[in-house]
Symmetry: C2
Subunit: 234 residues, 2 copies
């Protein structure tokens, strides 16, 4: 086994965009509702409310889970798209699309291989209920689901990255964060974790390819979770 | 599907004694250390410190995870058994025996069947790291690991039972606690949960059979997790 694989005990995964395809999944459900809107634009608008909503929670000091933030944002997006006629029951159902996100094609196979060599867990801003139902729907074989709700802090607060370290009574260098977002990885690195970037060029849809160029500060640069398994000797 | 199976969405399991055999597992490891003590009595003494230690934490208001309580109790038991020569490294290793507890013979098969019909999770006073490593070692197929550490309260505090309910945004009657302890089930029932008793007559060893007589207040009385799966139509 290589040196990095030898010292890592836990690999924590960012979820939205890294393990599951939120843009494709949300777009498909909105498209199927036949609302006469650009489903891809609807998905992007919904997701765009995510960071400001979490920042507001962190500033307020009062904890709100992501399911509830998703619903607040949804109501705004529905109004912006002129869809006020969508019923309460439809909104409740649509809001849970985040529990039903499809994994990227390599996710289940890659995680299953990594599980043989490491503890694999989530480290997501999604809530426990959301992530549990997502894992069950998508077949994600987590050893443990960890998230913002465990630590009452949203990423990128250090308590989230260091929360994984403390949960398993490890040193920061024994934990690796795997994510499709260089910013998330940078915050983890500042806490002493190792980092693996995962290319997800179509996170925002095929029409809006993302720059997936490597950052040299990351421990590993990978093209998929299967590639990460390969590089970690699994 | 029968009426009870139809309304239940989540089955939460007590762990120590219910899913895993703490007495047998601890006894076997102590026996293998060849310390010249009664390994079964050692296991019982260690476990006897469990409830008072948790009650002390709850009274103090300052959170301490079970790994640390186990270690405090262990040091006392080691002294009581005249084993002060046990090294620090041996104590650290022995303390993690709780991460390595063996499941009862029906646990993995029963949980696997139940997982097809319900969300299955732990609800234990063990900490997240302990329960994750136990699940990995024993092959327990949880959808989600929940425990005292999620709610900063030890069972039987209502926040633990209701914490499962809230995690999945359910009504109390949609959650069932499965446990080998009538007291645990009674507290869950007082919070509105459904309850399933699981007979574990040898929880304290074959020499000290436990009274596993039914209590009529429980929703179900079962002889094993496989029997629970059967009764729940899985």
């Amino acid at each position: 086994m290589n040196e990095i694989a030898n010292k890592i005990k836990v690999i924590a995964f960012d979820i939205f965009g890294t393990v599951v395809d939120w843009h494709g999944s949300v777009s498909r459900e909105v498209e199927a509702m036949d609302l006469g809107v650009d489903a891809g634009a609807f998905a992007l608008a919904w997701r765009a409310g995510y960071k400001p909503a979490m920042q507001q929670v962190m500033a307020s000091g009062e904890w709100v889970i992501l399911d509830h933030l998703h619903r607040r944002i949804l109501d705004g997006v529905v109004a912006d798209f002129g869809l006020d006629s969508i019923s309460e029951a439809e909104r409740q159902h649509l809001n849970l699309v985040w529990h039903r996100l499809d994994p990227w094609p390599d996710s289940v196979a890659g995680l299953s291989r990594l599980k043989a060599g490491f503890i694999i867990c989530s480290l997501s801003n999604g809530n426990l209920g959301l992530l549990t139902e997502m894992a069950k729907n998508a077949g994600l074989p987590w050893d443990c689901i960890l998230c913002a709700e465990n630590f009452n802090k949203y990423k990128p607060h250090p308590d989230t990255y260091l929360g994984v370290v403390r949960t398993f009574a490890l040193q920061p260098g024994q934990v690796m964060l795997a994510a499709a977002h260089h910013g998330d990885l940078e915050h983890a690195r500042n806490c002493g974790l190792e980092t693996a970037y995962i290319e997800r060029p179509h996170e925002y849809g095929r029409e809006q390819p993302k720059n997936v160029a490597p950052w040299s500060a990351n421990t590993l640069h990978t093209t998929s979770i299967l590639d990460l398994a390969e590089q970690m000797g699994c």
